[in-house]
Subunit: 240 residues, 2 copies
DNA sequence: TCAATAGTGTCTTTTAGACATTATATG
DNA sequence: CATATAATGTCTAAAAGACACTATTGA
């Protein structure tokens, strides 16, 4: 808690405090995470999450937003929350670094982020989970935790709207759930659930233009005032 | 993420890293939190959570367990998890301290913890929430977050058993839910729910002795293998 | 016997899931 | 017209909630 409470200062040193952000988005039915090239030695060929050290006078959320802003192309972060803190003594071989992991959502980026600084790229979360893409430090663990948190939180919070532009169609929203959960959802039951959950989405009264292959125009919605979903949107087949 | 990635070291200093633990327990239908007297200046009359600085070579979970062990009487911590990290630059007026909050559960202590070091006491969480008991630093915020997390997690994880001795009766378990959620539960529906949720509790085949006023002996149970509750134990009346 | 606590049964309402059907667009 | 996508309707099964009732103990 406080700096001076425990008096055996011999074993008590300070640590560097960093944040690492797992920014998730959905494009083409796939869940993506934003990665960049680290410049630390020994990380050749690997990728890392955006992040770095927290400034002296800066709080943790602001630091997370700063690192997202430094990566061009991430103009709107619709959701940002703490994930957990990683404090193994040797997680960074060079020094004791305590990293606060963050989870963020952003609507689908039409183009990859700009390249002012290090090389950046959206990568399918699947490719991180199965080690097709290698991450430096313990960042694969952070992505794993981010995915687990995102999957759980979509169930009882109206956060899926943070992945889509507003207004959106119910098909857009369903694509978010399907990408994050990795399961197909029944269209009819999904829309009954969403529209009957109080405050989840609000009908705007407008309709979207159909795609070039035709199809009935879809009604457009925007996020409602609900902070929690009642009843929850439970993902299918989560036994044990 | 890494110590050296961002090169503007002018604004980058280290911070003290601490842990603070909100240890919850249930006694006499009430949810309690373990507090102690801080020795920092300016905290006279206040209480604080057990905690302090993390050692150089120690991970965060171990530090949390160490501070619980230092408070006598907390021999068995049945559950320990990270809550979130508190990093406002001025949360401790003396120095930059980044505190990792923890949430822990323990079975009902028959007697208050022993007093080797600072004065310690179990206090009703209600009294912290309504400021009857004043906490130092931002520890009231940590208790608030701990309560919210505990309430949510009892819904979909079999953690209520961490609050009771094993084996336990279904009335014991119901008392935990009622104390944490602050609502009465229907006995018949509760037991149907608990016993029909696969892997939540296992019947031991033994029975408890009735209290001195009589009453039918209760069957005894122990925790089952389930990691999640399906379907969840939803707390009543959580609209919006 | 009564009071106290444990445990069961039953009925109603709500919600989930499967899946057939209708509606409105493009070519 | 056919094809594509959106939206509704219907039936069944599972779960939640209210609450009456039975069971087993001590005093």
């Amino acid at each position: 808690m406080d700096d001076a409470r425990n008096p055996q200062t011999a074993r008590l040193s300070s640590a560097a405090v960093a944040v690492d952000v797992a920014l998730l988005t959905v494009r083409d039915e796939r869940l993506l995470v934003l990665l960049q090239r680290p410049d630390a030695p020994g990380t050749e060929g690997l990728w890392s999450l955006p992040g770095g050290r927290v400034h002296d006078d800066e709080n943790l959320d602001d630091a997370a937003r700063r690192f997202l802003a430094e990566v061009g192309g991430v103009e709107r972060t619709e959701h940002l929350e703490q994930l957990r803190t990683y404090g193994e003594p040797n997680r960074d071989p060079r020094a004791r670094v305590v990293a606060v992991g963050y989870l963020a959502f952003t609507p689908t980026p039409d183009e990859p982020p700009r390249l002012d600084g290090p090389e950046t790229r959206y990568v399918a979360v699947d490719e991180v989970m199965d080690d097709t893409v290698g991450l430096a430090f313990d960042h694969d663990r952070i992505v794993r935790d981010a995915l687990e948190r995102a999957r759980a939180k979509l169930e009882y919070r109206p956060l899926a709207t943070a992945f889509v532009e507003h207004p959106f169609t119910l098909a857009d929203l369903r694509a978010v759930y399907e990408a994050v959960w990795g399961v197909p959802l029944d269209n009819a039951n999904f829309r009954r659930k969403v529209t009957s959950t109080p405050g989840f989405v609000l009908a705007t009264g407008t309709k979207s233009a159909p795609g070039r292959g035709g199809g009935r125009p879809a009604s457009l919605y925007e996020p409602g005032p609900a902070q929690r979903l009642h009843p929850a949107m439970l993902q299918p087949g989560r036994e044990t």
